[in-house]
Amino acid sequence: MSKIGVFVCHCGENISATVDCKKVAEEAAKLTGVEVSLDYKYMCSDPGQTIIKEAIKEKGLTGVVVAACSPRMHEPTFRKACAEAGLNPFMCEMTNLREHCSWVHEKNDQTTEKAIDLVRMLVEKTKLNKPLNEIKVPVSKKALVIGGGIAGIQASLDIANAGHQVILVEKEASIGGHMSQLSETFPTLDCSQCILTPRMVEVAQHPNITLYNYAELESLDGFIGNFKATIRLKAKSVDPKACTGCGACYNKCPKKKIPSEFNEGLGMRTAIYTPFPQAVPNKPVIDKENCNYYKNGKCKICEKVCPTGAIEFDKPDEFVTENVGAIVLATGFNVLKPDFFPEYGYGQFKDVITGLQFERLASASGPTLGEIRRPSDGKVPQKVVFIACAGSRDPAKGIPYCSKICCMYTAKHAMLYQHKVHGGESTVFYMDIRAGGKNYEEFVRRAIEEDGANYVRGRVARIYEKDGKLIVKGVDTLLGAKPVEIEADMVVLASAGVANCGAEELAQKMHVSYDPYKFFAEAHPKLKPVETNTAGIYLCGACQAPKDIPDTVATASGAAAKVIGLFSKDELTREPLVAVVNRIASHDVSTCVGCFMCQTACPYQAIEREEVKNRAGEVIKTVARVNPGLCQGCGTCVSFCRSKSIDIQGFSNEQMYAEVLAVLNTP
């Protein structure tokens, strides 16, 4: 027979202002199986907890119902108190009289009656509670970081510096990501490469970091603490161990006219190449799409000139499997090539370029060595128009969100242009200036007030070419929608930041959810900003949404902190509120028929196949088994199981049914 204790909390006046707590306790005392029922001003306080502990000991309670605030808040508190008094912590339940009752209703008899109903429901549930033990899962203390931009670099270094092994996977030949392409960075105008490249080198030299460049995640199995990642090492055609990075190969490569990805097509590269001179690792790879040998079977000049014989043609991709405990996704973003702006003529007019292309023009390592020269004829443009929100905040173009970084980098571009081209004229068309951030607003004001960038609030309707000039037609909405026409030498589009290509496939591979724009989704936008819905997989940087460098680095360190926290223990402790496939008496009488519809329904890949064998070792049947390390207790499988062979511990069908009946059969 159950001996339940009911403890009704006033929560100061939060509950007692509208609920008659004394009456709730009195009514609860009348319920069958309730041994003791008390009310107290602050149940969570030390004396409040003592009341519960003493009642457990004195009355020999088998279950405890605390009618107080949200279990989110104090369930751990009360479960701990119960455990201290010798009761299994999962025999303690909380009903939420505050958010579910007192805060949402007026003071009257019905409110108190509802509170009594809530208590009665939980008393009936608690009678069916079973003692549960926490689940222990071992943790492999090695992290996988996917993406070697500034986010992945920061996360890798933070985790590695805490003493854990890190596998960093980068799909390109070099780490560095978009940040390595940038010229100067707002709001301090420090050179991007100057602050980034030391970090890149640190990654390469760190004893705890294994860098797989030119590699991609092939598949992922397992669960938090115990992932198994298969990584495809794309064939580089160059043996990195033999290569000294002397550069003889790419100096002699006959294919010299391949648009450089690093220079956003403004410069050229060879077929065997390192993306940029400061690349890490600074060893070339062969681009098979463009290499003469791979295309026509002839050439092999690089092989002939290589002094160490490092060139190795026709090697297949290799695969490595790594067991890791946690994963950080840092796959970054992409910049929309604004092809879908026929009105702006990108692709049609050579001197309409993207913000990222302008970064390359302004960069000392860029194709113009930092001089602002327009792509068409190499002349220094005397009038430049910058268009913010090219694509962003435009539901008609399918991107209703703000790309966040464009206001700031456009101000920076205008400023850099003014610094580099004395007497030049810059005009910025904008919708709003969003400069929220430390020293950001000051930076924009500086561009306008000190460097003389001409800010025009309004949209550009059209760009066309006339007599070697780009005619930009827009309106100035602050001057009563007055039409503005500018004869520009160059136009820079602050095109929208979008999800990186392949983000969707990667998310599906890893079972991470994503938003309609293919950016990865956080577990909670405010309180779990670097977690995903899949335990053990974390997010950082611009793969979540467009982010600037400070935010990216902050989230990277945040994700690293989560990983380090996870690795701080040898075993992971999880609440045992997970699904279990029933096992009545012995294995062979499991009512599970092995249809595995639960397996396709499970969002967490927690359902495994288990073979039930007889004494001779023959398989009698195959039934479902829930991996407690992966199960998140969502209950989707329970609702799918036709024969009701799966239950959630702590929230069993029987318990839920008892709760519902308790409220339906109100006396």
């Binding site: 009512t591 028929v593 092995g594 249809c595 595995f596 519809m597 639960c598 396709t600 329904a601 969002p603 195959t622 799918f640 036709r642 024969s643 009701k644 062979s645 069908n653 029987e654 049914y657 008892a658």
Partner: protein, 262 residues
Amino acid sequence: MAELNSKVKELFEKDLIDIFIGYEEGTRNPRPYFAYSAQDADNLVFNDKCQGNLAVYLTRKDLVGGKRVGISASYFALKSISQLFDENQLKEDLLIVLGMKEDGSILEFKGLDEIRTYLSEAKAPSKQKDDELLKELSEMSQAERWQFWSDELSKCFKCYACRAACPMCYCTKCIIEVNRPQWIQPWISTQGNMEWQINRVMHMAGRCSDCGSCGAACPIGIPIHLLTHMMTKTVAANFGESNEQGNVLSTFKPDDKENFIL
């Protein structure tokens, strides 16, 4: 017909099967028949009077457990077989399926993929009579429809013939037998009968072959197959045909319709 008999004979003579599930002549209509030898194969028949869905026997462990099985399968039985494979209830190497076309010719399937290809191209037999009945029902007001089903289901005495006739009802423990908690009233009452039928139909959602065996099996002629027929149409309209999609209702696809979310 002779084609079927000689084919099955051959299967036994070559020792490829231990049992063949088909039909033999009955008093009025053909009835299910289990052939165990080449000699038995002579008794097999297949014609348009053959009722029921033979796939129901494929999950009967007492009958076929561990044996190599052959089966003459109608269009609906093929659909059920495909679904049973999806649900891990059949083993490909233990099953030989002979598809029976409406003209009496035999389709020999070399495995599941061929069955699925055939099903994706084959046209489902017409259900004109059922569609007319459904139309009548859909033209009723909600209250009238409720009354219709209340009247019909008040006659049910829970013999579970519908369950026994259904190839998809192979659970070793049916929800009706689960008593902790007691989801469905097990005794005979209009409400309990309705609970049972609603549950049965929901458990068929996305899995039903629409063969109508449940309705045909009902000894007092309650048209319960109209429930599964309607449900099959609803699922197909929202998620596509189940034999193309696998388990439609337990599988998530990013482009699934979510128009039920307000």
